[in-house]
Every structure is written in structure tokens, then in C-alpha cells.
Point group: C2
Chain length 419, copies 2
């Protein structure tokens, strides 16, 4: 069978499974997740053996790269996948709820029932833990899912897919609800991206190039973010000691995260008091600075001059761009021009300035007096998440179980006809 036909049949099976999942009892979905957790424990050795094949192959080309770390299913990663299944099984299942039932003037009742999206296609990097994390959150929302992980993780992903299928069928649910694309051929992705008759949404993760290609080729909706270029604007009236703590947390707690701080904007009247103290604390944590001409003399030895390309750049490491601004307006204009609609923060003691920032700044999370690192499903109270969307349609911000559902209208009539 050629690859496009194979993908089409896979998508058709997914759609059939989604129809069953969409109206199954919530208890069956939860049981499936608990089964998967148990099987991951029981089959841990076999899964790690399959993973070792992938890791060994990857070592041949890239012995010490970060790829190996992402690829490896260590005992710690296994434990966190297992806990994830149990946590998501305990989450609220919103499917079937009817929201905001209203009575129309003619007496008919109109509501919105929360329903699954249908079939989700995930395209992601060589991180086999995502195979479990993405599957369970799609399942609890009642969706079938087609997984296409990085080609380096193919053995790991197929082992995990086997566990998931066993967990599903033991709970009386269709094993086709989670399917791993069995080939690493790129033609498979191209074929999937045209199957909008069966696939309701595609969620790509990974490099910006991959995500842009998916957006260009997909004929179905795409949920994604390209990158996270997050700013903190420190106004002159901010509590500067706390501001240092917040910047340290935002920049250094996990520098490779999409919600890490990449550019610090400081009001001119705060620069002299704030920047040396900030540079000292963050510098001690290994941060290097790229400063504008006004900030540079205040940043100490770890600083060099910023070039045009540093504004709006996603460093993903311990580099921080720093710019002194004259006004909040200038800070917001910088964010509008160079930000990525991901996470933007203001530190200020002023009520009106905080409200203005909240209202005017366009980002999936707008923060007052806290770290940018809170843009995360768990931190914001959504539970497990499948990624962060910076396109505004459907979901703007972290995507949890609820963001993997939609609502359909339901109408309860008593013989009503339209006048």
C-alpha cells in the first residue's frame, strides 16, 4: 500500500474511533488512562529496551547533544509519564456538559454542549514522553489522535503505542483511538496534512521551520506557537528588589523554555538603581547581557552591545537583551514590534499603568508583578497541557483538556418552526 493510502486508512480508523470515544462513558476513558499507567509500570523494561535502540542510533551521529537527553526514557521520565496518566485520569472531564442554557422569546431552549474536537494529529520532536503526554490529554477530552513523533524515536513510540492500545482495549475502548504513524517517511506528514475530511486539527511542535511548513501545507486548522520572545518591562515605581527576583526567575529557572525572559525593558529613571543590582544577581547565575547604549555602562563586565538582530530574538539560553526606554508607551511599542504574542509582563506599583498594560498588550498571557514562567497549563490552573497557542483562534495560551474540546449548539423545542 502506498503511503497516502496508508495515511488515509489510518485517518478513517481514527475518525471511526473518535465517534465511539465522543459519546462513551467518562469512566471508560479514565479507566483506560489508569490501565496505561499500570502497563507502563509493568512493561517498563521492554519500553526502555526499545528506547535504547533509538538512543544508540542517535548517539552514532550526535554523541553528547541535547537530543540524547530529550530522547532518553530514563526511570525519572518513565515515573513522570506514569504519574501524568494518573493525574489526568483524576481531572474533570468536561465532555457532555451543557453550558449557558437560555430560553428564547419563543420558549425554545438553546445551550452549548461541550464535545470533543474529533481527530487530533500531533507532529512533534524526538521526545517519546510526548507520545504518552499528548495521548492521554487527547483521550480524556474524547479525541482520537494520530501521532507522528521525530523519526529518531520510532522504536520508543511504537512500544508506547502498544501499551496505549492495550490500555484502551482493556477499558472497552477502540485501540485505534491512538495510532502512531509507522513510517518515518516525510511523505506521511504531507499526506496527513491534506486529510481534513477526517482530521479536525493538527498540532505541530518543534522548530519554527517545521511549524511554518505545517501551516502552509495543512488544509485543516493548526494550533501552534512559533516561538516565545518574552519581555519584562520594569517601570520606575516598581519594587526593585522584587523585580530582581522576578527577572532572575524568569531568565534562569529554565532558560530553554518558551516562557523564559529574553528581553528586559527598563524605565530610564529606574535604570541606575536597578540595572547594576540586576546584572550582579543574574550575572552570578551565568547570565550574559546584550545591552542598548544607555544600559551598557550599567551592566558590568558580562555585557556586550546589542545589535539590531538581538531585539525579538529567542535566545533559549542564558543571554538577555536589555533596553532602557523613556516611557511605558515606548516599552509597549517595542513589545508590539518584537514580541511573539506569548508572555509579556510589567512590574509596577501603579494601578492605572497595570490596567493599561493588561488591556493594551497583545499576548497569550499578560502579567503584572510576576514571572513570565507562569505561562503553563499547570501553573495557570488548567491541569495538563498539550502546548501553548499564540494564534488567537480557538485557544490563546496554554491548551489543556478544555482547549481540546469545542461546543456544539443544542436546541430543545416543542414543535417550534421559524416565523
Amino acid at each position: 500500500m502506498d503511503i497516502p493510502t496508508q495515511m488515509k486508512e489510518m485517518a478513517q480508523r481514527a475518525k471511526a474511533a473518535a465517534a465511539i470515544l465522543s459519546s462513551c462513558e467518562g469512566a471508560a476513558k479514565k479507566q483506560a488512562l489508569l490501565n496505561i499507567a499500570d502497563l507502563l509500570e509493568k512493561d517498563q523494561a521492554a519500553i526502555q529496551a526499545a528506547n535504547a535502540i533509538d538512543v544508540e542510533a542517535a548517539r552514532a551521529t550526535d554523541p553528547d547533544g541535547p537530543k540524547i537527553k530529550r530522547l532518553t526514557l530514563s526511570d525519572g521520565v518513565m515515573a513522570s509519564m506514569i504519574q501524568g496518566c494518573r493525574d489526568v485520569a483524576a481531572q474533570h472531564d468536561p465532555v457532555g456538559e451543557i453550558e449557558t442554557m437560555v430560553k428564547r422569546p419563543n420558549g425554545m431552549l438553546v445551550g452549548r454542549m461541550r464535545v470533543p474536537l474529533g481527530v487530533v494529529a500531533m507532529i512533534y520532536e524526538s521526545r517519546p514522553n510526548v507520545t504518552i503526554d499528548a495521548s492521554i490529554i487527547c483521550l480524556v477530552a474524547g479525541n482520537a489522535v494520530i501521532l507522528r513523533g521525530g523519526s529518531e524515536a520510532i522504536h520508543s513510540n511504537q512500544a508506547l503505542a502498544g501499551v496505549i492500545a492495550k490500555g484502551l482495549t482493556a477499558a472497552g475502548l477502540p485501540g485505534d483511538a491512538v495510532q502512531v504513524v509507522p513510517t518515518t517517511d516525510r511523505e506521511a506528514v504531507n499526506a496527513l496534512l491534506t486529510l481534513d475530511e477526517y482530521i479536525d486539527v493538527v498540532i505541530p511542535r518543534g522548530g519554527e521551520g517545521l511549524i511554518r511548513t505545517v501551516c502552509q501545507k495543512a488544509t485543516m486548522p493548526v494550533l501552534k506557537h512559533y516561538k516565545g520572545v518574552c519581555h519584562i518591562y520594569v517601570h520606575e515605581d516598581a519594587d526593585l528588589e522584587r523585580a530582581v527576583d522576578i527577572c532572575l526567575n524568569a531568565k534562569t529557572q529554565y532558560p530553554a523554555a518558551c516562557n523564559a525572559l529574553e528581553c528586559l525593558l527598563v524605565h530610564k529613571n529606574a535604570a541606575e538603581a536597578f540595572l547594576p543590582a540586576m546584572a550582579q544577581r543574574l550575572g552570578a547565575a551565568g547570565v550574559r547581557f546584550k545591552g542598548c547604549p544607555r544600559s551598557l555602562p550599567l551592566l558590568g563586565a558580562a555585557a556586550g552591545p546589542a545589535v539590531d538582530e538581538d531585539w525579538g530574538f529567542e535566545f533559549l539560553n542564558l543571554t538577555l537583551a536589555v533596553k532602557v526606554v523613556d516611557t511605558q508607551t515606548e516599552a509597549q511599542a517595542h513589545i508590539a514590534r518584537f514580541g511573539s504574542n506569548h508572555t509579556e509582563a510589567i512590574l509596577t506599583a501603579d494601578y492605572a499603568r497595570s490596567l493599561r498594560f493588561l488591556r493594551e498588550v497583545d499576548a497569550s498571557l499578560v502579567v503584572v508583578n510576576a514571572s513570565t514562567r507562569f505561562n503553563d497549563g499547570g501553573q495557570l490552573g488548567l491541569g495538563a497541557e498539550i502546548g501553548i497557542s499564540t494564534s488567537k483562534l480557538h485557544a490563546y495560551g496554554p491548551m489543556g483538556v478544555r482547549e481540546l474540546t469545542t461546543t456544539k449548539f443544542v436546541l430543545l423545542g416543542q414543535g417550534h418552526v421559524r416565523a
Copy 2:
């Protein structure tokens, strides 16, 4: 200037206007709509003169077609556009509301603020009234809009765009918030569909071919429906007199609408009592039937045999496909296979059957004991609408002002850092 450059500059101006609109006072948006209403009254003669140029040109190729009716800005259409402006100005403006503010365990507050989508591109048929209807609903939701109407309506659309720009600037809002593409060249549409850096969503209306092309080419999200193939399933226990009334309304009140009935499914035990009465009433209203072998003898003289292509076909006229089914399960399987996720209805006296239909049938509106014709923003209580979405992302069903907005997360901290 070449067309792609021209479109890019237009989109950049739209994005700049959207930034202003997104945080303007609600009163200014409402004033702009009232200004537009007044100007439409004042400039009615000039608008109708521009429209007459378009109508005359269209008559040359298609003297009596339905195109002429859609294209003509009659006094009645003008009055309805003017009333539309005033109605939408009176609607609730949700922008800036914060929904579901919750306190996290660490004490920080997390909410969702309703915000505009940004820049909307509308691609639509030669119906110049849509130029006003779409603009005002986008504006009240705080969006800028780029309009590309059918080429036959270009003079009408430019006259209307002039009125809108005057109404906006008189309210202190940027005239660029509504722009009409000044060329009928198709290259303009192709260029717009790649400008995802500036355009947040595209809404195509018109034929299925056009909409599919937009989905293939667009790199930004698309809100759309391809077609409306709506079914009514009459269960054996339905009130058959009311069922005839409902089918008559669903089929004949506006046969060319996307929420009109296209296929009637009847339980075998109701067929003999229901179909002759139905065929008589609907036949008298001009309906012709395409029946399955079991229904055909019960449908009278206006019926012919249905062929395979009639199932799932959007007739958009007074033709109705009719099929006898053995069970509700068979009816739902028919709907799953041939429906278009638009509007599906069951007529029954049974509580459990109605709940099962509501839960299991996948359509933007699922109806119990009422006409399919209620799938409409005004009828469902959303106010003015810009179309009906049958893709599940973001909006599933009629799209009113609220569906032209999204929510961003807002976080109110007090020096919070992530642990």
C-alpha cells in the same frame, strides 16, 4: 506598486488600525456604527448610483439570474443595512471583560480577558450588503477588516467603503479599520492568504470550490462552512402533525439557505402514517421528492427514485430526499456518513432517544422537535452573525460578535516567581 506589495501594505495598515481599535472605548465603536447608519441614509442615492453601474455590467452577461438580485442595493436592502448598523451598535460589547478570575494556591489571580481577534479578512460573493454587515460586526468586536467582495460588486463596495471610512474617522477611529481590496485581480486574494504575520483569520463565503481553495492556500486560520446538508429524523413516536409542520418549515421557508432541510429520514413504523400526509402538504408547496424504494410508493406523484448521489446532496431548492430507516441507529449512521456537520434534528416523544441524539450526533446545531431553520445567530440569541462555522475549532455554529473575539490570560501577581 505590484499587487503583493499593495496587499502587504494594506494588511500592515489594518494591523496598525486593529491595535488602536482593540483598546479604544466601546462608545467610540458604537458611535462609528451610528455614524455609518446616518451616512448610509444621507448618501443612499450616490451608493445606489454606484451600485447601478455594477448591476448594469452584470446584466450584460446574466440578465435575469439570481446574481442580479444578490447584487442589487434596493431600498429594502439599504434599509436593512441601516437598521443592522443601529442594531449592532446596541449589542453588548464583550471586549475587555475578564471571565472566570480564579485564585491559584500561591495567591496569584488568573483570569481570561476577552479581546478582539485582530485583523479579519473576508472573502465573499457579489453581495454588497455583506460589506456593511461584515464590517459592523467586526468593528464592534474591535477587529480591523479587509474586504474582498465579488468582482461584480466592486463599485458598490468602494462606495460603501467610503461611507464606512467617513463614519470611523468622525468617531475618532482609524479609517484603515475597514479597507476594501481595490482590485478584482485574483492575485490579490492569493497574496492576502499568505500574510499571516498581519491577518489573524480569514472568513471565506460563497461556493464550496472557492472555500476549499482558500483552505488550501491560507497560512492563517480559516473560519468557514462548505455546505449545509441538513436532515430531520422522524421517529415512530413523534407527533406526526407537528412533524409535517416542522418539515414544511425546514424545507420551504427559505430553500436556498444552508440550514434548509435536504433529507428526511423516517422510522419504518411511521412511514405509512407520515409520508403521505407530509408529501401532500409539502407537495402542495412545490416540493418534489427523491425517495428510497420503501418511501417511493408513499410519496405520490411528485416523487421519483433517489439515486446514490442524492444522499448528502445540497439541493438548495424545493427537492427533498426521503429515506425510510429501521432504527435510530441507522438514521444516525446515515447522518454521520452524509451530513455536513451543519444542522441535524430528531422529532420524537421519547426522552432517552432525544438525549442520545443530542449527545451522539456531530453537528454545529443539534435539534429536538423543532425546525432546522433555527441555525442562525439571531434565532439562537447571538445577535448579528457573520456566517456559520462547521469546522470545530474556535466556533462551531453561528458566529456572532463573541465568536469574533478570543480570550487572553491575565495574571495579577504580587512578586510571584515560579517554584
